[in-house]
Structures are given as structure tokens and as C-alpha cells.
């Protein structure tokens, strides 16, 4: 069947819209914090271009702010982003239409939202290059553009809490989580993951609660009795 490119583009943009609305304030927030911590506008935006990983960028700013050595900052970025190893192991299976080079490029854009979009799309569609790159590049543009806006405008959003922005990402990720509830072992996996992650977070704090919690949930699925196809 031929690919309807404009339908792929429209689907990608439709799926991106709520995410872009959620990500934009964080981009502005990141940019404002970055220049507040003494980064130049070039450095603030350059970090978004290079890492393209908001949570780790904000964490790095915290560490830079308290004068941490380069190695400590870079290692914490690596730790926070370590979850992507699991993302690429899973999402790579859905990129059959991509050439090796296209895959290598695609993985650069494998953020939390684009990983979620690939997995969700793969449930009932072939993930096309048009769909993936429309989604991922648009999101990249939003992240860089809002980082720049925040860096230029300084402390534009004085208090994200006043607008309820602080709950947008958790709500977004929870809603995305529930989209997977028909998968086998969904509830045991989610509960195990929640338990391990909460324990690690309460005892040690971030960032290993993500990777260890994920491994806890995955372990449940690995040791559970096999029962046919996963979907």
C-alpha cells in the first residue's frame, strides 16, 4: 500500500500538539534558568541543540550553579539519560523502514515524547520516516525555539506553579502510560516499577529511580510465565 505522506504528517502533528504545549513552558523555563545561572544565550541554546534532553539540562544547571566539577555534571547528565538505552532497545524494533543512517539520525531525536509516540504508533501502524521525523524534528524545533525565548526573556515565567504548569508533564506521562494498559502484564509491571522507583527515589533521590525502577518493572515481565503474544 502506498504511504499517504500528508496523512502521516497530519497524524504526527496532531499527536505532537498536546506535547508541544506541555514542553514549551519547560523550554522557556530552562532558557530563563540557564541565563540566570550565567550561561550566555549561545550556551543556553547550544545545550538544547546538543543534549535535547530537558530534565538532564535543568539538573546540569543546578550542578553548574553550585560549582560542581565538569565530570560530576556530565556523569549526572549520563545517569539521568540512561533510560534512553532502554528506549532505543525497544523502539529500534519499530523502525524497520529506516536505513542504518536514517536510524542513526533518528536515535538522536529519541526523547521521552518521541519514544512514547513511536511505541504508541507502532501498536496499530507501521512507523514511517515521514511520521517519525515530522514529530521528532518539530519537537526539536519547539524545544530549541522555546529555550531561546526563555534565554532572551530571562525570568519570563516567574512562578510556573501559578499556571499549574508543574502538573502538566506528570499528567501527560500518566495519560501516555495508560495508553499501554492493554499490554499483557501491564499492571504488575507498572506496580513493580512504581514500587522500586519510589523506594529508590525516597532513599537515594534522583536520578537512578528512573533506570532502577524501569528495570524492576521489566524484570517482572521477564520472569513472569510466558503466555503468548504480547499485545
Amino acid at each position: 500500500m502506498p504511504i499517504d505522506y500528508s496523512a502521516e504528517v497530519r497524524a504526527a502533528l496532531r499527536h505532537l500538539l498536546p506535547v508541544a504545549i506541555a514542553v514549551a513552558p519547560f523550554g522557556v523555563l530552562y532558557g530563563a534558568v540557564a541565563t540566570g545561572r550565567g550561561l550566555s544565550i549561545m550556551e543556553a541554546v547550544g545545550f538544547s541543540v546538543s543534549a535535547n534532553a530537558g530534565a538532564s539540562q535543568l539538573a546540569a544547571l543546578e550542578l553548574i550553579g553550585v560549582g560542581s566539577p565538569i565530570l560530576a555534571v556530565v556523569l549526572s547528565v549520563f545517569a539521568i539519560n540512561f533510560r534512553h538505552v532502554l528506549y532505543s532497545a525497544s523502539a529500534g524494533r519499530h523502525l524497520q523502514r529506516f536505513s542504518p543512517l536514517q536510524k542513526a539520525v533518528a536515535f538522536y531525536f529519541l526523547t521521552d515524547p518521541s519514544f512514547g509516540a513511536v511505541e504508541a504508533r507502532a501498536r496499530d501502524h507501521v512507523v514511517t520516516r515521514t511520521y517519525f521525523f515530522t514529530y521528532a524534528l518539530s519537537l526539536y524545533a519547539v524545544w530549541i525555539g522555546t529555550s531561546l525565548a526563555g534565554a532572551v526573556s530571562g525570568d519570563f515565567i516567574d512562578d510556573p506553579k501559578a499556571f499549574g504548569i508543574d502538573v502538566i508533564l506528570p499528567v501527560y506521562f500518566l495519560a501516555l502510560l495508560m495508553a499501554f494498559r492493554s499490554r499483557s502484564l501491564f499492571y504488575p509491571v507498572a506496580l513493580a516499577s512504581a514500587f522500586v522507583s519510589t523506594a529508590v527515589y525516597v532513599i537515594f533521590g534522583p536520578p537512578w529511580h528512573v533506570t532502577l525502577g524501569t528495570l524492576g518493572g521489566v524484570l517482572v515481565a521477564v520472569v513472569a510465565p510466558l503466555r503468548g503474544p504480547a499485545e
Binding site: 498536546p18 550561561l39 547550544g46 545545550f47 543534549a51 535535547n52 538532564s56 553548574i64 565538569i70 556530565v74 547528565v77 539519560n81 533510560r83 534512553h84 538505552v85 532502554l86 528506549y87 532505543s88 532497545a89 525497544s90 529500534g92 524494533r93 536510524k103 542513526a104 536515535f107 519514544f115 512514547g116 501559578a162 499556571f163 499549574g164 508543574d166 502538573v167 502538566i168 506528570p170 499528567v171 501527560y172 506521562f173 500518566l174 501516555l176 502510560l177 495508560m178 499501554f180 499490554r183 502484564l185 501491564f186 507498572a190 512504581a194 522507583s197 527515589y201 529511580h209 528512573v210 525502577g213 524501569t214 528495570l215 518493572g217 521489566v218 524484570l219 515481565a221 521477564v222 510466558l226
Partner: protein, 98 residues
């Protein structure tokens, strides 16, 4: 090169390593066993759960209730509507001092 640019470029490089690493490991391992496959299928649910944990642990009771209410709403309403309701409720709760 300034320390900041070293941090920026090294962070980008290491982040890319994490983003392609899992794929390379699986590609080397060849065909996956059914258990590995089951484990990978569990990755999205497992990781999305962990990302929400800090907001539930650190949040006020009002924030926790709002986030959990949105979880229920997300079973019925489109995502954008749930986010709007959640952000609106959180803004009201914060304005009221919760």
C-alpha cells in the same frame, strides 16, 4: 574552549550514546528470546511510571489528587482536555495555597 562548552558537548555526546546504545546492544544480540521480548514490551509502561514518581512523592496532597484524578480522566477524555483540566485545577489549588 570554556568549561561550559565542554559540558555542553560532552553531555550531548553521552546522551546520544544512551539513545543509540540499547539498539546496538539488541542488534548485536541477534534474535531476541521470548523473555527478552516480553521484557522490552514492558519498557514503556515501566519507564513512564518512574517518570511520574517524583511528582507524586514531592507533591502536595492537592497535586497528588489532581494527578491521580487526571489518570482516571485520561481513560475517557482526550489528552489535551485532561492536561487543561489538570493545569487549571493545579493553578486554582496553588492560588488557594495548597
Amino acid at each position: 574552549m570554556s568549561d561550559l562548552w565542554v559540558i555542553i558537548l560532552l553531555s550531548g555526546l553521552l546522551t546520544y550514546v544512551t539513545r543509540i546504545g540499547g539498539y546496538l546492544i539488541v542488534a548485536r544480540a541477534g534474535k531476541l528470546s521470548p523473555r527478552m521480548e516480553a521484557g522490552l514490551n514492558a519498557v514503556p509502561a515501566a519507564v513512564l511510571t518512574t517518570i511520574v514518581v517524583p511528582s507524586l512523592v514531592d507533591g502536595t496532597w492537592a497535586e497528588r489528587l489532581i494527578v491521580l484524578a487526571c489518570l482516571v480522566l485520561s481513560l475517557r477524555l482526550p489528552l489535551i482536555g485532561v492536561i487543561a483540566i489538570g493545569a487549571g485545577a493545579a493553578a486554582l489549588a496553588h492560588a488557594a495555597g495548597y
